[in-house]
Each structure stands twice: as C-alpha cells, then as structure tokens.
C-alpha cells in the first residue's frame, strides 16, 4: 500500500525549526529497562519485611455479619490482621466534586469493606505474615459470615423500579424535583446547545441507533504492588507503583488519618496504568498492617485480584440520533447514555456527553448521561475516561448516516468538521485545533486507496479529548561539571523523562545526553498533580521549560559577573552566554559558568511551580480495514492507520507509540475484551487467557500520521497525546466490520459468535 515514509508521516503546520525537540534520542531510563534493572512496584524489598495478603469477598452483594480473625492470628508467623474497623471513620461529605466525583468515604470503603461488600473481590480483611505462603494460609483462616443479597449486575437491572438498592439513601442528583426514593441511579448529567427539537424539524434524513459496550479493564501488565514501612515515631515510607506519588501520599494520609508530612511516597517505575493507577488499593491497608505489626509490609496483587477488584472502565449503553440535510449537513444530534459506575457512584458518563459530538460543527444538540451503580468493581479512569463509549455511538451513527445518504464517510466528516470557532458540546468555542487537518491527512493517506476484497470492509472514526493542564513542579539543577539534572514529580509512564530532557535541552541549548531527568519522591520536589489526562508533556513540560529558563537567567547573571558587564549585555545562544557589548569576551558554556559557580554565588538551579493553563484540545481520526470470516464470525484486522493532531511531537517515537498503543487497546475493546459474570455475580474471566487483550499475532503494523497544529497555549505547541488514540478505534473497527458484514454491529465486543449470529439474522 505504500512505503514506510508514505505510511508514517509527520505533517508540521508550525513552520518552526527546533534543534533538540522532534529528535529521537534513546530514552534516559532505557538501558535499565532492557536489562531488567529497572525497579517496578514489586521489585523492592525491605529488611525484615512481612508479606501482606488480602481477604476478598466471594459474593457480589452481601452484608458482613461478622469477621472472626482468631484462627488466623494463632497461626505461627502471622503478625497482624486488619479489617475495616481498624480504619478511621470518614465523613460522607468528604469529597472532591468534579465531573468524576472523588469521595473519600467511598474510597475508604472500596479499599476495605465496612458493613457491606459490593462486588466479587471486594477486600474485607488483610493479614501480614513472615512469608507469602503463611500469609496465604492465614487469609484462608479468616472467617467472614455474610448475609448474601441479590446482586445487580447490569444497567438494565439496576435501573428497574424495584431493583435491589446498593446504597440506601442514595438518590438521583441532577433531576428536578429532587427524588426522595433511594435509587441505583446516582446522577443525571446534561449538556445542550441550541434547540434540539427545532434542529430535528429541519432534518431531511434521520438515523437512530442503539449501542452498547461491556466493562473492560485497563490491562496493565504490572499488578499493583507496594512496600510500606512505618517507624515507631510515626514516620512512614511508601514505595509503590502509581500514577502519582503525591496522590499516594494524600490518599494514605486521608484513609489512615495521618499528616502528609509523616508520609514519604517514593515512586517506583510504573508498569502501565492507563488511568487505573490514579487511585490506591493496597497502600493504606499495608500501612495499617505495618502499624499493627511494627514491621515493613509488602503487598503484591495477583492478576485475579487486579481483574476482580481494580480498574475497570464502565460498560455503557447509548442511544444516538442524528439529523442531517440531504447534502450531509448535520442539523441535530441527541445522545442519551447510561454508564456503569461500579460499586460506588462516579462513572465518566458526563465526560462522554461532553465529548461525543465534539468533532462536529453542530448547533442543536442534547446529551444526557445517567451514572448507575452496579455490583461490579468501582470504575477507575481509563484513557480518555468516558469518551470511547460516546464516540462509539456517535461515530457508528455517522457511518449509518453516510450509508443512508450514499455519501463517503470521510467526506461526511470533512463537511461537518469542527474547526477553530466551532462551539463544543460543552459550550466553549474551540481555539486552534487540528480536526480538519487530520481528516485531510486521512483523505490523502495511501491506506484509503487500497482496494477491498470480498468480506472486507473499511471503517473510519474520529475522536476527541479535552486534555488538561494543572499543577506541576520542576527543578533544573546545574552540576558543577556543567551537566544537568531535571527533577519533576510525575511518574514516567511511557517515556516522559525523554521529553522532559528534550525540552530542557531546547531551552539550555545543550545536548540531551548531558541532561539527566528524574522523578523525585514527595520530599524532593514540590507538589505535582497526577500523571494522567495527557497532562505531563504539556503541563510538567511547561514547568521544565520555565525552570530551565530560570536557570538560564541565573547563568546569565553569573556570566555578567564573570565578565564584569551589565546583565543586559549578556544573551543566551546555543548553550552559551555571549556578550553582545564587545567581542573581547569568549562565549561561556554551561560548564565554564558551573566551574566558577562557587565564586559567583554558589550552586545554580532554576525552578518552577506552576498551574499550567492552555491545554490544547486534540482530535484523532482512525482508518481500519478488516476481513470477516462469514463461516466463523472471526474478524482479522488487515490494516490500521491512526492520525492525530499532537500539537508538537517532542519525541516522535513515543508520540507514535501512544497512538499505536491506544489503537491496540481500542481494537481489543471492540473485538475481544469484556468482563463475564456468572448469574450470581462472580467474575469468570480473571486471567489473560480468557480476558483476551490483543496479542502480537492479532494485529497488523499500525501506521501513524502525526499532525502538528501547534497549541498556542504551550511554548513549543504541545498538546496532550495519550488519551485521544483510544477514542476512535471502537467505531473504526465496528464500522469496518459492519460494512464487511452488511449488518450494523452496535454491541461490543464483536466476538465471533456475536458476529455470526448477526450475519445469520440478517440473511
């Protein structure tokens, strides 16, 4: 279909030349990771440590009548047992209210159950013993008496009038007049533009469809793990793998009733998170075990525990209605969705409402979302939380519309593309965005002209994510030999240390090999918000740039001192201070300035603590070709191309990697992955054998077109990259299969039996 250069391209709209950013150096943490030296969550031990083990509920919904720990405590080698009773009480009103609510009351109950268990795998107690084997035996000796309740396993059941209620007293928010009756529906979120009824009256063509997706897990390969030590003076050290050491510190403090200053959280290398490690599960429990035993405690989850009790993201149900004129102009859109929140309220349904129609210029829309609790694990963030399900519905409906209009699906999207000045579904007018540029790149891509054979189909879909900024801190320290350390507070989940080093290199004007970036613990750098929301390269990058500029300012002062000239006579060029007043002073390199730093005022460093604003929204468009086997219903992905406006690719290889990885996760979501529960609510597929994430032989090469429409809110034009790539694939795959099969596949995953049944039904 074309050569490597034609298939994988960078299209630069900035017209700016950079020296360092945009190059592809080997990542600074690379050698440790290819030799097995890198220390992940479970790779750390402490002298004299105990091994912790969780006791988990076998029931999806039950009251805890009693917990008897006596037998476990009697077992030789058992040093501590904790249950919910050992944790401080938290006020129900203690929460951070956002689109996705963070309730510490719920979080504490999710970490360890109190009076009720809400899902299969819910933690009810924990033990610590001198070996993992003893801990496991002790866990089996803890006797929990349950009163088993009827579980509510899916949206339809949960929303029934007389459904068993998970949380007594929980009523539906966002509905007027406020209902008084307890319900499993936690919230209604609504977003509207214009007048949707009037819009549909103008429509000449209307399509309406019903769509659903299943619960899926982030599927990081590294299971959750931590080691916690708590000394007699109350000072604690938490070593763990997470998407934010400051989050770990704050959550442990909150859930264990401690001060932040008493907890040092050290970030391990993180073996994948995708949003699933933005919350804690083990750390507070290990803390309480460490407190009771007086010894460090290590806890490592098994894969079974990860699947049953962490993540996942919401399964969802959506109805999407689109109205258009005969020429394809969209005139109205309605989206109504229900998302599973899991055991506690807080699904990302509102974010789904805000993102579904975002790629299109539509003036009359109504999006309604219902947040519904069910007896499944509490949903955690997963890459562009909420957006993929909404995009699946809207992009499938767009494909139906294209078919009904007899229009090319790409041209339909081009005709209606949101551009600068278009009002987003959440009201705000877009600034400079690259949505149309993506679609044009798709139009020109060799993928689009590959002829399709029998049983083959091509699907197109777009996706959107806001991207966020937020609080980030950075320090740039100049060593006495002129090399540089860049310190930030954000765990590096996919190569961000490389981009931090590159941005510092660009400001300082030195080669990236002279810069060592590192991720510091909570006592070595100022507060930084989570690694998530596609914010690190943007926001923490901005902090690094400002810190490097601060260091440059200091070095210019030092040079002025060394030359005995006014500061305004010194400029920074190509990694050196130069004197513009006279040419009698030879330029001073960082090494020259560093060498004399003792005499010019001491050590040199720059720092920046910022709350970064101006995150640039980003769009992606994916093209997928599939072949279906009409005999078995098996789908083969033949070709895949991901196109995305990234603003500016700091390290293009890792930008492409994000696009390819997101696409692969989305393909899994579309074709294979789903939580399968028994009628009683036990999760049946708790391992990678039957929760099947895409493997190497399932996928083709994934072409990438990196579109660079600079974000005016970042000095180098960076937009967030990590979330967008998982938004389009669900519909890109489903649209391809639907076209190949001649029948709309609106319910994921498109497993062979499901496809086969749909083909047979359509005959």
């Amino acid at each position: 279909m074309g050569n490597e250069e034609e298939l994988n391209r960078i299209i630069d709209y900035s017209g700016r030349d950079y020296k360092h950013i945009g190059t592809r150096p080997v990542r600074p943490d690379g050698v440790d990771k290819v030799t097995g030296r890198a220390n992940f969550g479970a790779d750390f031990d402490m002298n004299g440590m105990l091994h912790g083990r969780m006791v988990r509920s076998p029931h999806a919904h039950a009251k805890i009548k009693s917990i008897n720990v006596a037998k476990a405590l009697k077992l030789e080698g058992v040093k501590a047992v904790v249950t919910g009773k050992d944790f401080p009480a938290i006020d129900p009103s203690d929460k951070i209210v956002g689109e996705v609510v963070v309730s510490f009351y719920d979080m504490s109950r999710n970490v360890i159950a109190r009076d009720k268990v809400y899902y299969d795998g819910h933690a009810v107690a924990a033990v610590a013993a001198t070996s993992p084997q003893i801990a496991e035996r002790a866990a089996a000796l803890i006797e929990v008496e349950y009163e088993v309740l009827k579980p509510v396993m899916n949206l339809a059941e949960a929303m029934k009038k007389n459904a068993p209620v998970l949380h007594k007293g929980m009523t539906t928010e966002g509905v007027e007049p406020a209902p008084k009756k307890s319900s499993n529906i936690a919230k209604r979120a609504q977003f509207a533009l214009g007048d949707v009824e009037a819009g549909f009256k103008k429509a000449e063509v209307i399509v309406e469809g019903d769509y659903s997706t299943q619960t899926v897990h982030q599927g990081y390969i590294e299971t959750h793990a931590c080691v916690v030590s708590l000394a007699a003076d109350g000072m604690a050290t938490v070593w763990s793998s997470s998407q934010g050491q400051f989050m770990v510190r704050a959550m442990c403090a909150k859930l264990c009733g401690m001060d932040n200053s008493k907890i040092k959280a050290i970030p391990a290398e993180i073996g994948g998170g995708f949003g699933g490690k933005t919350v804690v599960y083990l750390e507070p429990v290990a803390m309480m075990l460490a407190k009771q035993s007086g010894k460090p405690v290590k806890m490592v989850m098994s894969r079974d525990e990860v699947m049953r009790a962490t993540g996942p993201t919401s399964g969802g149900h959506a109805r999407c209605k689109l109205g258009a004129l005969n020429d394809g102009t969209l005139v109205a859109g309605e989206l109504e969705m229900e998302y599973e929140a899991g055991a506690f309220p807080g699904s990302p349904v509102g974010l789904g409402c805000m993102t579904g129609f975002a790629p299109y210029n539509m003036t009359d829309i109504l999006c309604t979302g219902w947040d519904v609790v069910v007896n499944r694990p509490k949903a955690a963030a997963y890459r562009a939380p909420g957006a993929p399900v909404a995009a699946f519905a809207v992009e499938s409906a767009m494909d139906e519309l294209a078919l009904k209009l007899g229009m090319d699906p790409l041209q339909l999207r081009i005709k209606n593309a949101a551009i600068e000045g278009t009002q987003a579904p959440y009201g705000v007018k877009f600034g400079r965005i690259g949505n149309l540029e993506n679609l044009r790149a798709a139009e020109e891509h060799p993928h689009m002209s590959v002829p399709l054979g029998p049983n083959q189909g091509r699907g197109i879909a777009s996706g959107f994510w806001f991207n966020i900024g937020g609080t980030s801190s950075a320090e740039v320290m100049i060593n006495e030999d002129g090399t540089v350390i860049v310190v930030t507070g954000n765990p590096d989940i996919g190569g961000s240390r490389a981009s931090m080093a590159l941005m510092a290199a660009e400001v300082l004007g030195v080669d990236v090999s002279r810069i060592k970036p590192l991720v510091a613990d909570t006592e070595s750098v100022a507060f930084s918000a989570l690694t998530g929301g596609s914010r690190v390269t943007f926001a923490t990058g901005k902090a690094v740039i400002e810190a490097a500029e601060d260091a440059v300012k200091d070095m210019k002062r030092r040079a002025a001192k060394m030359w005995d000239v006014e500061l305004d006579q010194v400029e920074w060029e190509n990694g050196c201070a130069v004197c513009i007043e006279t040419d009698k002073h030879k330029p001073l390199s960082i090494a020259d300035i560093a060498k004399k730093s003792d005499r010019t005022g001491g050590a040199i460093s720059g720092k920046a603590n910022i709350n970064a604003q101006g995150a640039g929204p980003a769009f992606g468009t994916h093209i997928c070709d599939v072949e279906i086997d009409p005999e078995t219903g098996f789908v083969t992905v033949l070709r895949y191309t991901a196109i995305q406006d990234v603003g500016k690719a700091i390290h293009p290889s890792y930008v492409e990697g994000q696009m390819q990885g997101g696409a692969a996760q989305g393909i899994g979501w579309a074709l294979n992955e789903e939580y399968v529960y028994s009628d009683e609510g036990q999760l049946l597929n708790t391992g990678f054998l039957d929760y099947r994430v895409p493997v190497c032989s399932d996928l083709p090469m994934i072409n990438t077109v990196v579109v660079e429409v600079p974000n005016p809110g970042h000095p180098y034009g960076v937009r967030g990259v990590g979330e967008v790539p998982i938004v389009p694939p669900l519909a890109a795959v489903a649209n391809a299969v639907s076209r190949a099969a001649g029948v709309r596949m609106g319910h994921l995953p498109i497993s062979p039996p499901k496809l086969l049944a749909s083909i047979d039904e359509a005959k």
């Binding site: 290819v34 097995g36 990081y220 073996g271 994948g272 692969a664 895409p694």
Partner: protein, 158 residues
C-alpha cells in the same frame, strides 16, 4: 516441611538454593536470588513477562516449579547483555523505542533471543506468532516487531 536443595546453572553460574515444593522458578529467581528482571504479570503462563530459557527452550518461569531446576541451565534477562555492551536485540529495542512502561520488555527480549536462535530470518508473521505469548499493553507491538526484524537483520549480518 523440609525444603528442597536445588543445584542449577543460571546465566552460566552454578547456583544453589533452597525452596518450598510450591514455589515456582519465578518466585525463587525474584525472591530468593534477587533476579527481579523477570516479572510476574499473571502467574499463569499467559503474559510472558517472566520468560526465561530452560536448557535452551523458551519457558514461562511462573510455570516451572523451582524444584524442577535441578541440573538445568537457565538464561534470564540478567544474562543477555555483557559487561561491555548491550545485546543487539536490546540495542534495537532502545533505538526503535519498542518499550513504553518497560514491564514486558525483559520477557520480550528473552523471547526474541530464543526466536532468533531458533530462526535467524523470521518473517514478520513468524515473529508475531512466536511472540504471541508475550503481552504488551502499551505499544500495540508495532515498534517491537520493527526492533525484532532490525535486530534479526543485524545479527544475520544483512
């Protein structure tokens, strides 16, 4: 219960250890011998993060009982690079940016080394099927396959 005394060879070094009957080779590598380069992603042989070779055959060390290691020869990720330089497979994984979080990387490198010892000139499809037992959730496998194919070419002298 008495522990088993096992004598084995790991990365060319004669190694002795004591283990419980239920301990896996992976448990012993990580917890007793401090070789934490092999990772546990599933403990059921589905993810390949713990890949090692046993007498030249690629295995998941989570599926080998530690007691079975008696008289066997193992190679783990810790034995792939020499003191002076990285193995070409490791170098290509870095050059091609074939890792993001890096947790699956040791397993992929061990599995790739076994592939290229077995078949120095694999097609892309052969490489994909050989590596189908190694899960990566970050990369979508694209850059891993590029690294594998480029390493194979370099090792063949092509």
């Amino acid at each position: 219960m008495a522990k088993h005394h096992v004598t084995t060879t790991i990365n060319g070094d004669r190694t002795e250890f004591l283990c419980d009957t239920e301990q896996t080779l992976l448990d012993v590598l990580r917890d007793e011998l401090g070789l934490t380069g092999s990772k546990e992603g599933c403990a059921s042989g589905d993810c390949g993060a713990c890949s090692v070779t046993m007498n030249g055959t690629l295995v998941c060390s989570c599926l080998v009982l530690a007691a079975e290691a008696q008289d066997a020869k193992f190679e783990t990720i810790e034995g792939v690079a020499s003191a002076e330089e990285l193995h070409p497979i490791q170098r290509h994984f870095l050059q091609e940016a074939a890792l993001q979080c890096g947790i699956c990387t040791p397993g992929f490198i061990v599995a790739t080394k076994a592939l290229l010892e077995h078949n120095p000139d694999p097609t892309e499809t052969e490489a994909r099927y050989w590596l189908a037992g190694n899960l990566c959730r970050c990369t979508g496998y694209d850059k891993i396959i590029k690294a594998v194919m480029n390493a194979a070419a370099e090792m063949r002298g092509a």
